[in-house]
């Protein structure tokens, strides 16, 4: 492979196309083009400059990950955080342990809590209806020892279910924000291209 400016820029552009907006991409590419220009003016060769810069693939991966994390920060959605996590995984194998595993554990935990809340919120009203029917004298629905207590218990279960769902929502928001901060730090410090050759 020829290690010249055109090839470096081509790889960088190629890897970032589709992720970055046109003007943002042009802005980033122009920095590297200017770097090559200034470097050559001071008498260094294309190849020398390339080796000092590091691999354009690695640079593009880092820019991409940072961009997707910022996007997930400004527009909060499951899809956006998922893409940000995926892009960060591409920065190094150890992120399987430092990013993917905690991410999966968190998602599973939030889902389990959510389903628990939903279960309570469904069982509660059902039990309420049962106690009303039992009070009305329908023997088929006689599930409560004391149907009047059943009314209050089922309201309690419903409320608990709703509180769990609301709590889970705030928990998810908290972990989303903390996760973004962690990913930024991860990209900025933990991961990185190896030393210049």
């Amino acid at each position: 492979m020829l290690m010249n400016e055109q090839e470096f820029i081509r790889i960088l552009r190629n890897r970032l196309e589709g992720t970055l907006a046109r003007d943002e991409l042009d802005d980033i590419v122009s920095d590297y083009a200017e770097h090559f220009r200034a470097g050559k003016e001071s008498g260094r060769s294309d190849e020398e400059l390339w080796r000092a810069l590091g691999s354009p693939d690695d640079i593009a991966r880092e820019i991409r990950a940072m961009h997707l994390v910022k996007k997930a920060e400004s527009v909060k959605s499951c899809g956006n955080i998922f893409h940000a996590v995926l892009a960060t995984l591409g920065l190094g194998l150890f992120n399987l342990v430092f990013v993917l595993v905690p991410f999966i554990l968190l998602v599973v935990m939030l889902l389990v809590i959510f389903m628990l809340g939903v279960a309570f919120a469904v069982i509660g009203p059902a039990a309420f209806v049962f106690s009303v029917l039992q009070l009305a004298g329908s023997p088929a629905f006689a599930i409560w020892l004391n149907p009047v207590a059943g009314l209050f218990i089922s309201i309690g279960i419903t409320t608990l279910g709703l509180l769990i769902i609301i709590g889970d929502y705030y928990l998810a928001r908290f972990f989303y924000r903390a996760g973004i901060r962690y990913l930024k730090w991860n990209i900025g410090v933990i991961t990185g291209t190896e030393e210049a050759e």
Binding site: D31, E34, H35, P56, I59, E195
Partner: protein, 108 residues
């Protein structure tokens, strides 16, 4: 030296160079890589981040060679950040140095 250590201090290095004078990209990268062996390409994403955070602004200026160059300049909040991080680093590195010096004596 390990990459995490270097990436961790890169931000304060960039802020510090810019606190001294406005620089164009290549110039800034050279100032840093003169002293720290790091993939130079990673400095540009950092500059973008500093710009996003409002610590740095850019302006174009004609160069002797012809094409205009993009200069980076610290903003007011960038200067505050530089001061804060400089203080932090000075204290931290002094503590670590003192600790290391102490342990060397203990070994002897």
């Amino acid at each position: 030296m390990n990459i995490q250590l270097k990436k961790g201090v890169l931000e304060i290095c960039v802020l510090s160079v810019l606190a001294h004078k406005d620089c164009y990209g290549y110039e800034l990268v050279n100032e840093i890589s003169k002293r720290i062996d790091i993939s130079e390409g990673t400095i540009y994403p950092l500059l973008h981040r500093l710009k996003d955070e409002g610590y740095v602004t850019t302006y174009l200026q004609e160069s002797a060679g012809g094409a205009p160059r993009k200069y980076y300049r610290l903003t007011e909040s960038g200067r505050d950040e530089e001061h804060a991080q400089r203080e932090e680093w000075m204290q931290f590195s002094a503590s670590v140095n003192a600790l290391l010096a102490g342990n060397t004596h203990a070994d002897e």
